[in-house]
């Protein structure tokens, strides 16, 4: 038994070292590297509460270690019968009062922040011309992808959220099927995406995502929603206001027809087999069964989580269930007259889809 506490200390040291060595995770997704007001507020609460809690741990540890070292039977003697102390009202008072004080220290910022982060009164604010002062995005969670509608701009996209930096962006969240949860860890805490009501909150994005290694922030579904819950990822692209306005303008334009012949062939196949579910224009209010593909060529992933290249895209189209179990995209046989897509058809589709862009 003598070895006990020593081992424990060594172990604690090792873990601490490991944590230190691997840092705080990736900038694209870690809550420990906040990239916006909301995440920053939450991070500050994390640090404050950690300090308070560390104080508690230190106090407990000191009493604890002293007790188990000083009063071991090997020290105090085999036959020693300790005094049978009943208790102490004074001590009870102390360890009731001090935790209450500590909790009060935490309670004040908790209540303040709870109301602050829920404050969406400015959401409907309009300027003199009746235009909304703030950007609002309507988010719809679907099995297993995300739709982003910009009601004021009358555009719609999927899987990659594009937002301006340094301003408050308001979100309306609703689920189309089962419950999901909308979470961009490095930008702010999550909010559930319920099937029965619209949930509303705001986020702020401090930094342009082009400065990140991956070029985008990572978004997650945080509520178990079925087999592919783990794959229900989305990405967030943050642009400065000027670039964002340019992006919106480009989104509002009709998609240009492809020029090369392979892509044109792809367009034909797409219009026979895929267009019933997937729109290729971002403008307009029409929602599709499947994700809007107007910005497909601009995206960084396929289906939210796979490498963005033609090979992956072709594999995905040929057998979507293999990559994202339980998703609702039909197999090629169901939309292509009972036949799987030939290699040539897949090449054409891939060329067409990769050409769907609104950015230069």
């Amino acid at each position: 038994m003598m070895k006990g506490p020593k081992k424990w200390r060594l172990f604690a040291l090792m873990t601490a070292l490991l944590v230190f060595l691997s840092g705080c995770g990736r900038e694209e997704i870690s809550t420990l590297i906040p990239a916006g007001k909301v995440a920053q507020d939450q991070f500050n609460l994390l640090i404050l509460s950690s300090i308070v809690m560390l104080f508690v741990i230190v106090v407990v540890t000191i009493i604890y270690v002293l007790a188990i070292v000083k009063f071991r039977r090997s020290k105090v003697g085999e036959d020693m019968i300790p005094e049978q102390v009943e208790g102490s009202a004074r001590l009870e008072f102390i360890w009731t009062a001090i935790p209450i004080v500590l909790l009060l220290i935490l309670a004040v910022p908790t209540v303040y922040s709870t109301f602050d982060l829920a404050d969406v009164t400015a959401m409907d604010a309009q300027d003199e011309d009746g235009a909304a002062e703030n950007l609002t995005v309507n988010v719809t969670g679907k099995l297993y992808w995300w739709e982003f509608e910009y009601p004021e701009q009358e555009i719609r996209t999927a899987q990659e959220l594009v937002v301006p930096t340094d301003e408050r962006v308001y979100f309306n969240l609703i689920a189309a099927d089962v419950k999901h949860s909308f979470w961009i860890p490095s930008v702010g805490g999550k909010l559930d995406v319920n099937p029965e009501n619209v949930n509303t909150f705001y986020l702020e994005f401090d930094k342009e995502s082009s400065e990140l290694e991956e070029g985008v922030y990572f978004g997650k579904c945080a509520e178990l929603c079925g087999p592919s819950h783990a794959l229900m990822d989305f990405k967030v692209k943050t642009l400065n206001r000027e670039d964002f306005d340019a992006w919106v303008a480009a989104m509002q334009e009709e998609q240009a027809a492809p020029t090369d012949t392979v892509a044109q062939e792809g367009q034909q196949i797409f219009e026979q087999s895929c267009i019933a579910c997937h729109a290729t224009n971002a403008a307009g209010a029409a929602t599709g069964v499947g994700p809007n593909l107007a910005t497909f060529g601009d995206r960084t992933t396929i289906a939210g989580f796979m490498e963005h290249d033609e090979e992956t895209l072709k594999n995905w189209i040929a057998d979507p269930q293999q990559y994202k179990p339980g998703n609702l995209m039909p197999n090629p046989e169901e939309i292509n007259n009972g036949e799987p897509f030939s290699d040539q058809e897949l090449d054409a589709l891939a060329a067409y889809l990769m050409g769907l862009k609104v950015e230069e």
Partner: protein, 637 residues
Amino acid sequence: MSSNSQKKGFGATIWDYLTTVDHKKIAILYLISGGFFFLVGGVEAMMIRIQLMKAGNDFLSAGTYNEVLTMHGTTMIFLAAMPILLAFMNAVSPLQIGARDVAFPFLNSLGFWLFFFGGIFLNLSWFLGGAPDAGWTNYASLALASEGHGIDFYSLGLTISGFGTLIAGINFLVTIINMRAPGMTYMRMPLFTWTTFVASALILLAFPPLTVGIFFMVFDRLFGANFFDVTMGGNTIIWEHFFWIFGHPEVYILILPAFGIFSEIFAIFSRKRLFGYTALVFATILIGFYGFMVWAHHMFTVGLGPTANAVFALATMIIAVPTGIKIFNWLLTIWGGNISFTVPMIYAVAFIPSFVAGGVTGVMQAIAPLDYQLHDSYFIVAHFHYVIVGGVVLAILAGTHLYWPKMFGTMLSEKLGKWTFWFFFIGFHLTFFIQHFLGLMGMPRRVYTFGADQGWDLFNAISSAGALLMAIGVIILLVNVVMTVVKGERVGNDPWGDGRTLEWAIPSPPPFYNFAQTPLVRGLDPYWIEKMEGNKEGMVYAEPLGDIHMPNGSFIPFVISLGMFIAAFGAMYHTDGHAWALPVLIGGLAITFGSMLVRSLKDDLGFHVTKEELIADNERIQREARALEGGKKGGLK
């Protein structure tokens, strides 16, 4: 019938256990079946950690993973932790208050068999088309969308086993209120009995909301109701409320008896009465009371609005106060004591830092805005494993060592026990400590895979390695159990040498009537008081030796439960349009209600153990005790 020491055949022993109404044998049944489900849940846990060992692993498919994670949680909470704690409650509480059995021995047996058949029914889902896959919380929108019968197995299985738990809770409440020996006032009750009492009250109040929620779920899925169907005007948030109004008290139902076990251990192995006994009792009651005020802290991200979130955040923080009171009173109990580091005590000592770590992260999550980040991430996974493994499972392991001699009359090996402890304890911290950081680094819970580009590889690998150590610890425990059973070395009344409460004053295992004469309780820790005053017998008695009235065993509880088990299959397969389903449903219910009718109409007045039999039995016990003394000097140090 008058002696439980006669050698019986195997078949007779099985029959004895199938029909027993003796709280001590029911305790053994709970321990064995709870232990079995603990192993099943453990295997499921290992499958989870193997799958998450590295990025993009394909050990389990996406759908199977969801089944495994659901069954791991459901099994561990409902079928492992609760029954094992009920095993200790059954084995010890009646002895601690000087009772000859629980208030309703027949119901006690019924409670066990309902739990048992519910658990079996739930686990049969693995072989009958797939297990439930909507998480142990079974959130309604996903549960309604789930295909196959997995969710039906969950709802019906938990309904049946939930009846059992409710019955057990009521039974302990009545027992503790009515069956205390003379002198055993409320404020002299051992803390384990107190926590049993409060936990039973929580069971009584918390299980009905779960039952209602599950009934709604059954009606939605099997009979076309629309309680949770949003497209028909239903509301899935209602399920979340029902579930957590049950679910939060549920964690206190688990942790309070664990606190009780540790309280006993600290006192015994520090050779000191509990510091601040009164404060510990009131802290227990307060925790139980507040447990019902805080359920919405599981729902901070649901969108209940800032007022609800702020109120529930503050209410949740308050719970830290009575919990802190407990921790400090335990520390002051060992302070100035004479600490013997036996296996139960090592677990108790290890429990304090582990549970404090789980407690402080609990307070952090009470901070609602911070919880928006922590909720449903691996941080919460780390938190609840710290409190449930670091609190409840350590208590279960400690309790197994502590009460094994009282339940079975033999002693688990201290050496192997320490090996188990070190593997389990180091493995536990290795597995779960790092998960706090995975959560902060953005990893959501309940994901069957993660990409190599998320930066979570190393920590997941470490976590999986820790799980392996825990598994080794549990395997050593099994070896320990087998070796101890094979050896079969008997121990005396007070094998730890420093027992304080009544259960240590009688033989291990106790005779089936527990106390030949009801003891007179003269204060807190009655056995200790007698020992200190040099009473060789260990007890003073409140009554002269006389005939004892005992209940007969009964096979009816088994049959009642079996009927419900059969009926559940009928109800479930009825929706598939099988012609046999309705007859099975009706037949099962007929068995259940028929056996209830038999029970009601047939008088069973029990039997008496006569004074002469008690005297003969007592002589046998004395003889055995003397043989034990001669065999080995002293007992355990």
